[in-house]
Point group: none
Chain length 140, copies 2
Amino acid sequence: MSAKIGQRSTKQRAAVAAALAEVDDFRSAQDLHDVLRRRGDLVGLTTVYRTLQALTDSGDIDVLINSDGESIYRHCGQSAGHHHHLVCRKCGRTVEVEGKAIERWTDAIAHEHGYSDITHTMEIFGLCPACARESTEAMS
Amino acid sequence: MSAKIGQRSTKQRAAVAAALAEVDDFRSAQDLHDVLRRRGDLVGLTTVYRTLQALTDSGDIDVLINSDGESIYRHCGQSAGHHHHLVCRKCGRTVEVEGKAIERWTDAIAHEHGYSDITHTMEIFGLCPACARESTEAMS
DNA sequence: ATGTTTATTGATAATGCTTTTCATTAAGGC
DNA sequence: GCCTTAATGAAAAGCATTATCAATAAACAT
């Protein structure tokens, strides 16, 4: 790993954060790079990747990986803390869900085994109502 | 897209299916290719990929994508019991844990939002007892 | 069995996302 | 302005996956 990022404020970082703030959806690094270029903010692709990673590490944005193996990013809506995503495996439609129960459960399990300093990752996948309807229609 | 697969039975396909059937866990295509080579079944990497894709399309196995963007596969019909992992972020020591509660919770949440055909991924990270002791000792 | 058809295989090349490298640039502090 | 070094970014490297395409071998007919 390299020197950790986020100790100086640069216009590139501001541009990436701003671009991400405007969109209320998951976008890939390359998408964001395009958006930035179109609007005239010349930011290197490498920097976009690095910045997104830094923002992710600091918990300022959410990442998840789509079915093509691409990482996609979004600014977290409710800064109201930790949450999970319910993602449609077909169209990507996402719902944010809270999971106090999960938090409690993982903490309990971990402590039971003597583990400390617990974190976890979790994603839920399913077919959203629209896509489910679509695929049953296709059956006929 | 090429001609769809699965119209002839070959030893390669049998080998891939068998390898996957033995393991009760998610494995990447390359992992499986290694497993096959070690046991003496010489199957080309390309064929492993193709076969896994075919098995996925026909619904015989599950895919999901890990946090590195790798596709990992598991033989479906998880009667053998779905479980999660509690992993030490320092030394990698892993404990397998069951999570009926999680299952129920994700299903409930998903149905609440109209999503169907639910799956989920989850990993728990922490410091195992040994590593925790080590790091407090280092403090002094 | 033998031949014919064509699905399947697999070594290699190509693709595409992401990370490294490293020389250059520019924040932040003096 | 000057210095230190974080940050940038073009180009190269890395890595999983997919496309190519000549060679092979199922399934089936003769």
